[in-house]
Amino acid sequence: MTVTNNFILENVSGLKNIIIHIIIWSIFAMFCMEFTNLVAAEEIAVVVNINNPVKSLTSREVSDIFLARRKVFPSSDEAVFVVEQPQNSKLREEFFRLLNRMKLKQVNAYWARLQFSGDVQPPKALSNSQAVIKVIRNNRYAIGYIDAESVDDSVHVILNLKD
Protein backbone atom coordinates (compact mmCIF):
# COMPACT_ATOMS: atom_id res chain seq x y z
CA MET A 1 0.00 0.00 0.00
CA THR A 2 2.83 2.37 0.99
CA VAL A 3 4.70 1.47 -2.21
CA THR A 4 1.58 2.30 -4.23
CA ASN A 5 1.16 5.60 -2.41
CA ASN A 6 4.78 6.56 -3.02
CA PHE A 7 4.41 5.66 -6.69
CA ILE A 8 1.33 7.89 -6.97
CA LEU A 9 2.97 10.75 -5.08
CA GLU A 10 6.11 10.57 -7.25
CA ASN A 11 4.07 10.62 -10.42
CA VAL A 12 1.80 13.41 -9.23
CA SER A 13 4.90 15.41 -8.30
CA GLY A 14 6.43 14.71 -11.75
CA LEU A 15 3.23 15.79 -13.46
CA LYS A 16 3.16 18.98 -11.39
CA ASN A 17 6.73 19.82 -12.50
CA ILE A 18 5.83 19.24 -16.13
CA ILE A 19 2.77 21.52 -15.87
CA ILE A 20 4.84 24.26 -14.17
CA HIS A 21 7.46 24.00 -16.94
CA ILE A 22 4.78 24.19 -19.63
CA ILE A 23 3.26 27.30 -18.02
CA ILE A 24 6.65 29.05 -17.66
CA TRP A 25 7.69 28.27 -21.24
CA SER A 26 4.27 29.31 -22.57
CA ILE A 27 4.50 32.68 -20.82
CA PHE A 28 8.07 33.14 -22.12
CA ALA A 29 6.96 32.24 -25.66
CA MET A 30 4.10 34.71 -25.50
CA PHE A 31 6.46 37.50 -24.38
CA CYS A 32 8.83 36.62 -27.23
CA MET A 33 5.98 36.80 -29.73
CA GLU A 34 4.85 40.17 -28.40
CA PHE A 35 8.44 41.50 -28.52
CA THR A 36 8.85 40.25 -32.11
CA ASN A 37 5.74 42.17 -33.09
CA LEU A 38 6.98 45.34 -31.45
CA VAL A 39 10.34 45.43 -33.22
CA ALA A 40 8.77 44.75 -36.63
CA ALA A 41 6.97 48.10 -36.85
CA GLU A 42 6.79 49.94 -40.17
CA GLU A 43 5.35 53.23 -41.32
CA ILE A 44 2.19 52.70 -43.30
CA ALA A 45 0.28 55.21 -45.42
CA VAL A 46 -3.47 55.02 -45.99
CA VAL A 47 -4.05 56.35 -49.49
CA VAL A 48 -6.95 57.50 -51.65
CA ASN A 49 -7.38 58.79 -55.18
CA ILE A 50 -5.90 62.21 -55.74
CA ASN A 51 -9.30 63.54 -56.88
CA ASN A 52 -11.17 62.27 -53.83
CA PRO A 53 -12.68 65.35 -52.10
CA VAL A 54 -12.04 63.77 -48.68
CA LYS A 55 -8.57 64.90 -47.62
CA SER A 56 -8.14 63.40 -44.17
CA LEU A 57 -9.62 60.66 -42.02
CA THR A 58 -9.18 59.67 -38.39
CA SER A 59 -7.90 56.26 -37.32
CA ARG A 60 -11.39 55.42 -36.09
CA GLU A 61 -12.93 56.26 -39.48
CA VAL A 62 -10.32 54.23 -41.37
CA SER A 63 -10.82 51.35 -38.92
CA ASP A 64 -14.59 51.44 -39.49
CA ILE A 65 -14.04 51.44 -43.26
CA PHE A 66 -11.64 48.46 -43.21
CA LEU A 67 -13.95 46.52 -40.89
CA ALA A 68 -16.91 47.20 -43.23
CA ARG A 69 -18.79 49.11 -40.55
CA ARG A 70 -18.71 52.28 -42.61
CA LYS A 71 -19.79 51.91 -46.24
CA VAL A 72 -19.44 55.52 -47.47
CA PHE A 73 -16.81 58.22 -47.00
CA PRO A 74 -17.50 60.59 -44.07
CA SER A 75 -19.36 63.77 -45.11
CA SER A 76 -19.95 62.26 -48.50
CA ASP A 77 -22.45 59.94 -50.08
CA GLU A 78 -19.92 58.02 -52.13
CA ALA A 79 -19.45 54.31 -51.50
CA VAL A 80 -15.92 53.36 -50.52
CA PHE A 81 -14.10 50.81 -52.64
CA VAL A 82 -11.66 49.10 -50.29
CA VAL A 83 -8.59 47.31 -51.59
CA GLU A 84 -6.61 45.03 -49.33
CA GLN A 85 -3.13 43.58 -49.09
CA PRO A 86 -2.58 39.78 -49.00
CA GLN A 87 -4.55 38.19 -46.14
CA ASN A 88 -1.65 36.98 -44.01
CA SER A 89 0.99 39.49 -45.07
CA LYS A 90 3.23 41.28 -42.58
CA LEU A 91 2.03 44.63 -44.00
CA ARG A 92 -1.60 43.78 -43.22
CA GLU A 93 -0.63 42.60 -39.75
CA GLU A 94 1.21 45.87 -39.08
CA PHE A 95 -1.62 47.95 -40.56
CA PHE A 96 -4.24 46.62 -38.15
CA ARG A 97 -1.84 46.68 -35.21
CA LEU A 98 -1.07 50.36 -35.79
CA LEU A 99 -4.65 51.24 -36.72
CA ASN A 100 -6.72 49.66 -33.97
CA ARG A 101 -4.44 47.19 -32.09
CA MET A 102 -6.22 44.21 -33.63
CA LYS A 103 -4.16 41.12 -34.30
CA LEU A 104 -4.44 39.45 -37.68
CA LYS A 105 -6.12 36.46 -36.04
CA GLN A 106 -8.83 38.73 -34.64
CA VAL A 107 -9.25 40.48 -37.97
CA ASN A 108 -9.59 37.16 -39.78
CA ALA A 109 -12.15 35.88 -37.24
CA TYR A 110 -14.05 39.17 -37.51
CA TRP A 111 -14.18 38.90 -41.30
CA ALA A 112 -15.17 35.22 -41.15
CA ARG A 113 -18.32 36.35 -39.39
CA LEU A 114 -19.20 38.87 -42.09
CA GLN A 115 -18.12 36.65 -44.97
CA PHE A 116 -19.86 33.39 -44.09
CA SER A 117 -23.07 34.97 -42.85
CA GLY A 118 -23.28 36.43 -46.35
CA ASP A 119 -23.37 39.93 -44.88
CA VAL A 120 -20.31 41.48 -46.56
CA GLN A 121 -17.63 39.81 -48.66
CA PRO A 122 -14.05 40.78 -47.81
CA PRO A 123 -12.31 43.38 -49.96
CA LYS A 124 -10.27 42.01 -52.81
CA ALA A 125 -6.67 41.42 -51.81
CA LEU A 126 -4.06 42.70 -54.24
CA SER A 127 -0.58 41.30 -54.52
CA ASN A 128 1.48 44.30 -53.31
CA SER A 129 1.63 48.06 -52.76
CA GLN A 130 2.20 48.79 -56.47
CA ALA A 131 -1.02 46.97 -57.37
CA VAL A 132 -2.86 48.95 -54.68
CA ILE A 133 -1.53 52.26 -56.08
CA LYS A 134 -2.57 51.24 -59.58
CA VAL A 135 -6.17 50.56 -58.53
CA ILE A 136 -6.43 53.70 -56.41
CA ARG A 137 -5.05 55.83 -59.22
CA ASN A 138 -7.88 54.58 -61.45
CA ASN A 139 -10.78 54.70 -58.96
CA ARG A 140 -11.92 57.97 -57.46
CA TYR A 141 -13.42 56.37 -54.33
CA ALA A 142 -10.91 53.61 -53.69
CA ILE A 143 -8.98 53.41 -50.42
CA GLY A 144 -6.03 51.23 -49.51
CA TYR A 145 -2.82 51.15 -47.53
CA ILE A 146 0.78 50.78 -48.60
CA ASP A 147 4.18 50.92 -46.96
CA ALA A 148 5.12 54.60 -46.69
CA GLU A 149 8.20 54.16 -48.89
CA SER A 150 5.98 53.28 -51.86
CA VAL A 151 3.99 56.54 -51.77
CA ASP A 152 4.23 58.63 -54.95
CA ASP A 153 2.51 61.72 -56.36
CA SER A 154 -0.29 59.75 -58.00
CA VAL A 155 -2.11 59.06 -54.71
CA HIS A 156 -3.09 61.14 -51.70
CA VAL A 157 -2.05 60.12 -48.19
CA ILE A 158 -5.10 60.43 -45.98
CA LEU A 159 -3.59 59.00 -42.79
CA ASN A 160 -0.10 58.00 -41.68
CA LEU A 161 0.32 55.15 -39.25
CA LYS A 162 3.47 54.54 -37.24
CA ASP A 163 4.56 53.59 -33.75
Binding site: M30, M33, E34, R60, E61, S63, D64, R69, R70, K71, V72, P74, D77, E78, A79, F81, Q87, N88, N100, R101, M102, K103, L104, K105, Q106, N108, A109, Y110, A112, R113, Q115, F116, S117, G118, D119, Q121, K124, L126, A131, K134, V135, R137, N138, N139, A142
Partner: protein, 439 residues
Protein backbone atom coordinates in the same frame (compact mmCIF):
# COMPACT_ATOMS: atom_id res chain seq x y z
CA UNK B 1 -44.26 29.08 -61.28
CA UNK B 2 -44.02 29.39 -57.53
CA UNK B 3 -43.29 32.59 -55.62
CA UNK B 4 -39.60 31.86 -55.12
CA UNK B 5 -39.03 31.23 -58.84
CA UNK B 6 -40.79 34.48 -59.67
CA UNK B 7 -38.54 36.36 -57.26
CA UNK B 8 -35.47 34.77 -58.90
CA UNK B 9 -36.60 35.77 -62.38
CA UNK B 10 -37.29 39.34 -61.25
CA UNK B 11 -33.92 39.60 -59.56
CA UNK B 12 -32.12 38.24 -62.62
CA UNK B 13 -33.92 40.78 -64.80
CA UNK B 14 -32.92 43.58 -62.43
CA UNK B 15 -29.38 42.25 -62.49
CA UNK B 16 -29.20 42.52 -66.27
CA UNK B 17 -30.63 46.05 -66.23
CA UNK B 18 -28.21 47.22 -63.56
CA UNK B 19 -25.23 45.65 -65.29
CA UNK B 20 -26.15 47.25 -68.58
CA UNK B 21 -26.38 50.55 -66.75
CA UNK B 22 -22.91 50.03 -65.30
CA UNK B 23 -21.29 49.67 -68.69
CA UNK B 24 -23.34 51.87 -70.98
CA UNK B 25 -24.16 54.85 -68.77
CA UNK B 26 -21.07 55.39 -66.68
CA UNK B 27 -18.50 53.28 -68.47
CA UNK B 28 -16.52 53.65 -65.25
CA UNK B 29 -16.14 50.20 -63.81
CA UNK B 30 -14.90 50.13 -60.25
CA UNK B 31 -12.03 47.77 -60.91
CA UNK B 32 -9.00 48.93 -62.76
CA UNK B 33 -7.28 46.98 -65.45
CA UNK B 34 -7.81 43.46 -66.73
CA UNK B 35 -5.56 41.95 -64.11
CA UNK B 36 -7.70 43.23 -61.23
CA UNK B 37 -10.94 42.51 -63.01
CA UNK B 38 -9.99 38.85 -63.48
CA UNK B 39 -9.11 38.17 -59.84
CA UNK B 40 -12.14 40.04 -58.58
CA UNK B 41 -14.96 38.00 -60.03
CA UNK B 42 -14.96 34.62 -58.31
CA UNK B 43 -13.93 33.74 -54.77
CA UNK B 44 -13.96 30.25 -53.29
CA UNK B 45 -13.71 29.94 -49.54
CA UNK B 46 -14.88 27.80 -46.69
CA UNK B 47 -14.81 26.88 -43.03
CA UNK B 48 -14.86 23.80 -40.92
CA UNK B 49 -15.04 22.35 -37.44
CA UNK B 50 -13.65 19.05 -36.28
CA UNK B 51 -15.10 18.51 -32.85
CA UNK B 52 -15.36 15.72 -30.34
CA UNK B 53 -17.84 15.94 -27.48
CA UNK B 54 -18.00 13.77 -24.36
CA UNK B 55 -20.82 13.67 -21.82
CA UNK B 56 -20.94 11.93 -18.45
CA UNK B 57 -24.48 10.52 -18.64
CA UNK B 58 -25.45 7.02 -19.72
CA UNK B 59 -29.15 7.82 -19.93
CA UNK B 60 -29.19 10.96 -22.05
CA UNK B 61 -27.36 12.84 -24.74
CA UNK B 62 -27.29 16.55 -25.70
CA UNK B 63 -28.92 18.14 -28.75
CA UNK B 64 -27.14 21.13 -30.28
CA UNK B 65 -30.32 22.29 -32.01
CA UNK B 66 -33.61 20.67 -32.95
CA UNK B 67 -32.73 20.28 -36.63
CA UNK B 68 -30.11 17.65 -35.69
CA UNK B 69 -30.71 13.97 -36.40
CA UNK B 70 -31.69 11.87 -33.43
CA UNK B 71 -30.72 8.57 -35.05
CA UNK B 72 -27.07 9.51 -34.80
CA UNK B 73 -27.17 10.48 -31.14
CA UNK B 74 -29.84 8.35 -29.49
CA UNK B 75 -27.34 5.72 -28.44
CA UNK B 76 -27.32 6.99 -24.86
CA UNK B 77 -24.59 4.64 -23.68
CA UNK B 78 -22.19 6.21 -26.12
CA UNK B 79 -20.78 9.17 -24.27
CA UNK B 80 -18.87 10.71 -27.12
CA UNK B 81 -19.71 11.94 -30.59
CA UNK B 82 -18.12 13.71 -33.56
CA UNK B 83 -21.50 14.63 -34.95
CA UNK B 84 -22.73 17.26 -32.52
CA UNK B 85 -20.49 20.12 -33.66
CA UNK B 86 -18.45 18.92 -36.65
CA UNK B 87 -19.24 20.47 -40.01
CA UNK B 88 -17.76 21.72 -43.25
CA UNK B 89 -18.92 24.77 -45.20
CA UNK B 90 -17.97 25.66 -48.78
CA UNK B 91 -18.77 29.02 -50.31
CA UNK B 92 -18.48 30.57 -53.75
CA UNK B 93 -19.27 34.18 -54.49
CA UNK B 94 -19.24 35.74 -57.90
CA UNK B 95 -19.05 39.50 -58.21
CA UNK B 96 -20.73 40.50 -61.46
CA UNK B 97 -20.06 44.16 -60.67
CA UNK B 98 -19.68 46.30 -57.52
CA UNK B 99 -23.48 46.36 -57.34
CA UNK B 100 -24.35 42.75 -58.13
CA UNK B 101 -23.12 39.50 -56.64
CA UNK B 102 -24.17 35.87 -56.46
CA UNK B 103 -23.27 33.75 -53.46
CA UNK B 104 -23.81 30.08 -52.71
CA UNK B 105 -22.84 28.19 -49.57
CA UNK B 106 -23.25 24.50 -48.82
CA UNK B 107 -22.86 23.05 -45.34
CA UNK B 108 -22.16 19.41 -44.59
CA UNK B 109 -23.23 18.58 -41.05
CA UNK B 110 -25.41 16.21 -39.12
CA UNK B 111 -29.04 17.09 -39.74
CA UNK B 112 -32.38 15.28 -39.46
CA UNK B 113 -33.14 15.67 -43.15
CA UNK B 114 -29.74 15.66 -44.91
CA UNK B 115 -30.87 16.35 -48.49
CA UNK B 116 -28.85 18.30 -51.03
CA UNK B 117 -31.43 21.10 -50.98
CA UNK B 118 -31.29 21.40 -47.20
CA UNK B 119 -27.48 21.46 -47.30
CA UNK B 120 -27.50 24.65 -49.37
CA UNK B 121 -27.76 27.26 -46.64
CA UNK B 122 -27.12 30.34 -48.77
CA UNK B 123 -27.88 30.92 -52.45
CA UNK B 124 -28.80 34.44 -53.31
CA UNK B 125 -28.38 37.35 -55.64
CA UNK B 126 -27.29 40.48 -53.80
CA UNK B 127 -27.92 43.93 -55.19
CA UNK B 128 -26.80 47.39 -54.12
CA UNK B 129 -29.17 49.61 -56.11
CA UNK B 130 -28.16 52.68 -54.06
CA UNK B 131 -25.50 53.45 -51.51
CA UNK B 132 -26.52 52.26 -48.04
CA UNK B 133 -29.16 49.93 -49.51
CA UNK B 134 -28.60 46.22 -49.90
CA UNK B 135 -31.14 43.72 -51.20
CA UNK B 136 -30.70 39.94 -51.23
CA UNK B 137 -33.09 37.42 -52.70
CA UNK B 138 -32.99 33.65 -52.86
CA UNK B 139 -31.89 31.55 -49.87
CA UNK B 140 -30.55 33.86 -47.18
CA UNK B 141 -29.34 33.42 -43.60
CA UNK B 142 -31.86 33.82 -40.77
CA UNK B 143 -30.84 37.08 -39.12
CA UNK B 144 -32.99 37.65 -36.05
CA UNK B 145 -30.44 37.25 -33.23
CA UNK B 146 -26.81 38.22 -32.67
CA UNK B 147 -25.61 34.78 -33.79
CA UNK B 148 -28.42 33.20 -35.78
CA UNK B 149 -26.79 33.59 -39.20
CA UNK B 150 -23.27 32.59 -38.15
CA UNK B 151 -23.76 29.56 -35.89
CA UNK B 152 -22.04 27.18 -38.30
CA UNK B 153 -18.81 29.18 -38.55
CA UNK B 154 -17.21 28.31 -35.22
CA UNK B 155 -13.98 30.11 -36.12
CA UNK B 156 -15.90 33.41 -35.98
CA UNK B 157 -16.86 33.09 -32.30
CA UNK B 158 -15.30 32.29 -28.99
CA UNK B 159 -17.15 29.21 -27.79
CA UNK B 160 -17.44 25.58 -28.89
CA UNK B 161 -21.02 26.42 -29.89
CA UNK B 162 -23.52 29.24 -29.30
CA UNK B 163 -25.18 28.74 -25.89
CA UNK B 164 -27.61 25.83 -26.21
CA UNK B 165 -30.12 27.42 -23.83
CA UNK B 166 -30.53 30.29 -26.26
CA UNK B 167 -30.07 28.73 -29.68
CA UNK B 168 -31.29 25.13 -29.36
CA UNK B 169 -34.86 25.98 -30.27
CA UNK B 170 -33.86 28.39 -33.04
CA UNK B 171 -33.59 25.72 -35.70
CA UNK B 172 -34.13 28.07 -38.64
CA UNK B 173 -30.80 28.60 -40.39
CA UNK B 174 -31.93 29.66 -43.85
CA UNK B 175 -34.93 31.45 -45.33
CA UNK B 176 -36.25 31.21 -48.87
CA UNK B 177 -37.15 34.82 -49.48
CA UNK B 178 -35.56 38.22 -49.46
CA UNK B 179 -34.13 40.85 -47.17
CA UNK B 180 -33.47 44.57 -47.32
CA UNK B 181 -30.76 46.36 -45.36
CA UNK B 182 -30.38 50.08 -44.85
CA UNK B 183 -27.22 51.51 -43.25
CA UNK B 184 -27.05 54.92 -41.63
CA UNK B 185 -23.89 56.67 -40.43
CA UNK B 186 -24.12 59.13 -37.57
CA UNK B 187 -20.64 60.37 -36.68
CA UNK B 188 -18.74 57.32 -35.48
CA UNK B 189 -21.94 55.36 -34.92
CA UNK B 190 -23.42 53.09 -37.56
CA UNK B 191 -27.07 52.07 -37.53
CA UNK B 192 -28.52 49.24 -39.55
CA UNK B 193 -32.16 48.38 -40.17
CA UNK B 194 -32.84 45.01 -41.72
CA UNK B 195 -36.08 43.32 -42.69
CA UNK B 196 -36.47 39.74 -43.89
CA UNK B 197 -39.43 37.86 -45.29
CA UNK B 198 -39.98 34.36 -46.60
CA UNK B 199 -40.37 30.79 -45.42
CA UNK B 200 -38.15 28.00 -44.17
CA UNK B 201 -38.13 24.19 -44.27
CA UNK B 202 -36.17 21.68 -42.26
CA UNK B 203 -36.58 18.25 -40.71
CA UNK B 204 -37.21 17.50 -37.05
CA UNK B 205 -36.56 14.02 -35.71
CA UNK B 206 -39.13 12.83 -33.19
CA UNK B 207 -39.58 9.29 -31.99
CA UNK B 208 -37.77 7.64 -34.95
CA UNK B 209 -39.61 9.70 -37.58
CA UNK B 210 -38.39 12.74 -39.45
CA UNK B 211 -41.13 15.35 -39.70
CA UNK B 212 -41.09 18.23 -42.15
CA UNK B 213 -41.18 21.53 -40.30
CA UNK B 214 -42.29 24.53 -42.33
CA UNK B 215 -42.04 28.06 -40.98
CA UNK B 216 -44.41 30.05 -43.17
CA UNK B 217 -45.08 33.80 -43.33
CA UNK B 218 -41.74 34.36 -41.70
CA UNK B 219 -40.64 37.94 -41.14
CA UNK B 220 -37.94 39.54 -39.06
CA UNK B 221 -37.01 43.10 -38.25
CA UNK B 222 -33.73 44.03 -36.61
CA UNK B 223 -32.10 47.26 -35.55
CA UNK B 224 -28.35 47.27 -34.95
CA UNK B 225 -26.16 49.98 -33.49
CA UNK B 226 -22.40 49.66 -33.91
CA UNK B 227 -20.02 52.03 -32.23
CA UNK B 228 -16.41 50.89 -32.42
CA UNK B 229 -16.12 47.74 -30.33
CA UNK B 230 -19.72 47.84 -29.06
CA UNK B 231 -22.60 46.35 -30.98
CA UNK B 232 -26.20 46.35 -29.79
CA UNK B 233 -28.91 44.52 -31.67
CA UNK B 234 -32.65 44.31 -31.10
CA UNK B 235 -34.76 41.91 -33.09
CA UNK B 236 -38.29 40.70 -33.61
CA UNK B 237 -39.23 37.67 -35.65
CA UNK B 238 -42.43 35.75 -36.24
CA UNK B 239 -43.61 32.82 -38.32
CA UNK B 240 -46.38 30.27 -38.51
CA UNK B 241 -45.66 26.58 -38.12
CA UNK B 242 -47.56 25.26 -41.13
CA UNK B 243 -47.30 21.46 -40.88
CA UNK B 244 -48.35 18.90 -38.33
CA UNK B 245 -45.78 16.32 -37.20
CA UNK B 246 -48.24 13.69 -38.36
CA UNK B 247 -45.81 10.75 -38.48
CA UNK B 248 -45.00 11.13 -34.81
CA UNK B 249 -48.13 12.67 -33.35
CA UNK B 250 -50.82 11.13 -35.57
CA UNK B 251 -51.49 8.05 -33.35
CA UNK B 252 -51.52 10.21 -30.20
CA UNK B 253 -53.99 12.65 -31.75
CA UNK B 254 -56.30 9.85 -32.83
CA UNK B 255 -56.11 8.30 -29.34
CA UNK B 256 -56.95 11.58 -27.62
CA UNK B 257 -59.86 12.23 -30.00
CA UNK B 258 -61.17 8.71 -29.27
CA UNK B 259 -60.90 9.32 -25.52
CA UNK B 260 -62.81 12.59 -25.92
CA UNK B 261 -65.56 10.81 -27.89
CA UNK B 262 -65.86 7.97 -25.34
CA UNK B 263 -65.87 10.43 -22.41
CA UNK B 264 -68.57 12.41 -24.18
CA UNK B 265 -70.72 9.30 -24.64
CA UNK B 266 -70.22 8.25 -21.02
CA UNK B 267 -70.83 11.79 -19.74
CA UNK B 268 -67.38 12.54 -18.30
CA UNK B 269 -67.02 16.21 -19.29
CA UNK B 270 -63.75 16.72 -17.35
CA UNK B 271 -62.06 13.85 -19.17
CA UNK B 272 -63.36 15.06 -22.51
CA UNK B 273 -62.12 18.61 -21.86
CA UNK B 274 -58.67 17.41 -20.79
CA UNK B 275 -58.33 15.03 -23.77
CA UNK B 276 -59.26 17.82 -26.21
CA UNK B 277 -56.93 20.26 -24.46
CA UNK B 278 -54.05 17.80 -24.76
CA UNK B 279 -54.94 17.17 -28.42
CA UNK B 280 -54.87 20.88 -29.24
CA UNK B 281 -51.78 21.72 -27.22
CA UNK B 282 -49.59 18.84 -28.42
CA UNK B 283 -49.43 20.14 -31.95
CA UNK B 284 -47.26 22.01 -34.43
CA UNK B 285 -49.87 22.95 -37.01
CA UNK B 286 -51.02 26.56 -37.49
CA UNK B 287 -49.05 27.69 -34.49
CA UNK B 288 -47.83 31.30 -34.48
CA UNK B 289 -44.37 31.72 -33.00
CA UNK B 290 -42.65 34.98 -32.17
CA UNK B 291 -39.19 35.89 -30.85
CA UNK B 292 -38.10 39.14 -29.24
CA UNK B 293 -34.43 39.63 -28.50
CA UNK B 294 -31.92 42.16 -27.32
CA UNK B 295 -28.21 41.45 -27.52
CA UNK B 296 -24.91 43.23 -27.12
CA UNK B 297 -21.33 42.31 -27.89
CA UNK B 298 -18.12 44.11 -26.99
CA UNK B 299 -14.60 43.37 -28.15
CA UNK B 300 -11.82 45.89 -27.51
CA UNK B 301 -9.07 43.47 -28.47
CA UNK B 302 -8.47 42.29 -24.92
CA UNK B 303 -11.87 42.02 -23.27
CA UNK B 304 -14.64 40.16 -25.04
CA UNK B 305 -18.16 40.30 -23.66
CA UNK B 306 -21.43 39.17 -25.12
CA UNK B 307 -24.94 38.92 -23.69
CA UNK B 308 -28.34 38.26 -25.15
CA UNK B 309 -31.82 38.01 -23.68
CA UNK B 310 -34.81 36.72 -25.55
CA UNK B 311 -38.41 35.70 -25.23
CA UNK B 312 -40.25 33.25 -27.43
CA UNK B 313 -44.01 33.02 -27.43
CA UNK B 314 -46.29 30.40 -28.98
CA UNK B 315 -49.43 28.46 -28.29
CA UNK B 316 -49.39 25.03 -26.71
CA UNK B 317 -46.74 22.71 -25.32
CA UNK B 318 -44.76 21.87 -28.44
CA UNK B 319 -43.52 25.21 -29.66
CA UNK B 320 -40.90 27.40 -27.99
CA UNK B 321 -42.44 29.35 -25.16
CA UNK B 322 -39.74 30.57 -22.86
CA UNK B 323 -37.38 33.27 -21.70
CA UNK B 324 -33.71 32.70 -22.32
CA UNK B 325 -30.44 34.52 -21.92
CA UNK B 326 -26.71 34.25 -21.55
CA UNK B 327 -23.69 36.26 -20.51
CA UNK B 328 -20.18 35.46 -21.65
CA UNK B 329 -16.85 37.04 -20.75
CA UNK B 330 -13.46 36.34 -22.27
CA UNK B 331 -10.00 37.83 -21.89
CA UNK B 332 -7.29 37.61 -24.57
CA UNK B 333 -3.79 36.82 -23.34
CA UNK B 334 -1.66 36.61 -26.45
CA UNK B 335 -3.10 33.86 -28.59
CA UNK B 336 -5.05 32.37 -25.68
CA UNK B 337 -8.54 33.45 -24.67
CA UNK B 338 -10.00 31.92 -21.53
CA UNK B 339 -13.72 32.51 -21.20
CA UNK B 340 -16.72 31.76 -19.05
CA UNK B 341 -20.42 31.72 -19.92
CA UNK B 342 -23.66 31.45 -18.00
CA UNK B 343 -26.78 30.60 -19.96
CA UNK B 344 -30.30 29.81 -18.89
CA UNK B 345 -33.78 29.05 -20.19
CA UNK B 346 -37.02 29.28 -18.23
CA UNK B 347 -40.32 28.12 -19.71
CA UNK B 348 -43.35 30.37 -19.55
CA UNK B 349 -45.60 27.45 -18.73
CA UNK B 350 -45.84 25.27 -15.62
CA UNK B 351 -45.34 21.53 -15.68
CA UNK B 352 -48.54 20.02 -17.06
CA UNK B 353 -50.35 17.86 -14.49
CA UNK B 354 -53.40 15.54 -14.73
CA UNK B 355 -56.66 17.35 -14.02
CA UNK B 356 -59.09 14.42 -14.26
CA UNK B 357 -59.16 10.70 -13.41
CA UNK B 358 -59.14 8.58 -16.55
CA UNK B 359 -59.58 5.30 -14.66
CA UNK B 360 -63.31 5.76 -15.23
CA UNK B 361 -62.71 4.92 -18.90
CA UNK B 362 -59.80 2.54 -18.16
CA UNK B 363 -57.23 4.75 -19.83
CA UNK B 364 -54.88 5.66 -16.95
CA UNK B 365 -51.82 4.47 -18.79
CA UNK B 366 -52.64 6.45 -21.95
CA UNK B 367 -53.41 9.45 -19.75
CA UNK B 368 -50.04 9.34 -18.06
CA UNK B 369 -48.29 8.77 -21.39
CA UNK B 370 -50.04 11.82 -22.91
CA UNK B 371 -49.16 14.01 -19.92
CA UNK B 372 -45.55 12.80 -20.24
CA UNK B 373 -45.45 13.76 -23.92
CA UNK B 374 -46.93 17.17 -23.16
CA UNK B 375 -44.03 17.80 -20.74
CA UNK B 376 -41.34 16.33 -22.98
CA UNK B 377 -40.71 19.57 -24.88
CA UNK B 378 -40.34 21.85 -21.86
CA UNK B 379 -36.88 23.32 -21.44
CA UNK B 380 -35.78 24.44 -18.01
CA UNK B 381 -32.06 24.40 -17.38
CA UNK B 382 -28.96 26.49 -16.86
CA UNK B 383 -25.33 25.96 -17.74
CA UNK B 384 -21.99 27.22 -16.49
CA UNK B 385 -19.30 26.94 -19.16
CA UNK B 386 -15.57 27.42 -18.94
CA UNK B 387 -13.35 27.28 -21.98
CA UNK B 388 -10.13 28.21 -23.67
CA UNK B 389 -9.60 29.28 -27.27
CA UNK B 390 -6.09 29.04 -28.67
CA UNK B 391 -5.50 30.85 -31.97
CA UNK B 392 -2.48 28.78 -32.97
CA UNK B 393 -2.64 29.92 -36.59
CA UNK B 394 -3.90 32.96 -38.54
CA UNK B 395 -6.79 30.87 -39.87
CA UNK B 396 -7.31 28.15 -37.28
CA UNK B 397 -8.05 27.82 -33.58
CA UNK B 398 -8.35 25.08 -30.98
CA UNK B 399 -11.09 25.20 -28.37
CA UNK B 400 -11.54 23.31 -25.15
CA UNK B 401 -14.83 23.74 -23.29
CA UNK B 402 -16.47 22.32 -20.21
CA UNK B 403 -20.22 22.73 -19.70
CA UNK B 404 -21.92 21.98 -16.41
CA UNK B 405 -25.69 21.86 -16.88
CA UNK B 406 -28.42 21.70 -14.25
CA UNK B 407 -31.70 20.42 -15.66
CA UNK B 408 -34.98 20.88 -13.80
CA UNK B 409 -37.69 18.26 -13.54
CA UNK B 410 -39.63 18.01 -16.81
CA UNK B 411 -37.25 20.48 -18.42
CA UNK B 412 -35.28 18.10 -20.66
CA UNK B 413 -36.18 19.17 -24.19
CA UNK B 414 -32.55 20.03 -24.97
CA UNK B 415 -31.59 16.40 -24.44
CA UNK B 416 -32.58 13.02 -25.73
CA UNK B 417 -33.21 10.73 -22.81
CA UNK B 418 -34.54 7.30 -22.03
CA UNK B 419 -36.95 6.04 -19.39
CA UNK B 420 -38.03 8.38 -16.62
CA UNK B 421 -34.92 10.55 -16.62
CA UNK B 422 -36.98 13.66 -17.37
CA UNK B 423 -39.09 13.26 -14.23
CA UNK B 424 -36.13 14.13 -11.99
CA UNK B 425 -33.83 17.10 -11.60
CA UNK B 426 -30.25 16.27 -12.53
CA UNK B 427 -26.85 17.53 -13.66
CA UNK B 428 -24.71 16.73 -16.67
CA UNK B 429 -21.20 17.57 -17.78
CA UNK B 430 -20.14 18.06 -21.36
CA UNK B 431 -16.52 18.25 -22.52
CA UNK B 432 -15.68 19.49 -26.00
CA UNK B 433 -12.43 19.64 -27.91
CA UNK B 434 -12.64 21.23 -31.31
CA UNK B 435 -10.54 22.66 -34.07
CA UNK B 436 -12.00 25.50 -36.14
CA UNK B 437 -10.57 26.75 -39.40
CA UNK B 438 -11.32 28.95 -42.38
CA UNK B 439 -9.78 28.84 -45.82
Amino acid sequence: MDKISKIFVMILAMNVIIQLGEYSVTGNYAYAGDEIYDVSKLRLSGYGTISHTFDDRKDMTPIRDISKSSTSINDYDTNSTWRMDSRLGLQADYQFSPKVEFLIQGVLKDRADPTFTNSIELAYIGLKPFNRFNVRAGRIGYDAFLMSDIRDTGYAYLWARPPIEFYNMVAIFAINGADVTYDIEQGNVQWRIKAQGGESHFGIDMDNYTNDFEAGNLCTLTLTRQSGPLKIKAGYSQFTSVNEATKTLGPLHRGLEAVAAIADNLSFPDIKAEALSLRNNISFKDNDVSYMTLGASYDNGTLIAQAEIGRSAAYGYFMPNAEMGYLSLGYRIGDFTPYGTFSSIDPNSDVNKPVSDWSAIESESFHSQSIGISNSTRAEQYTYSLGLRWDFNNQAALKLQWDNTHIRTYGYSMWLWEGETFAHESKANLYTLSMEFVF
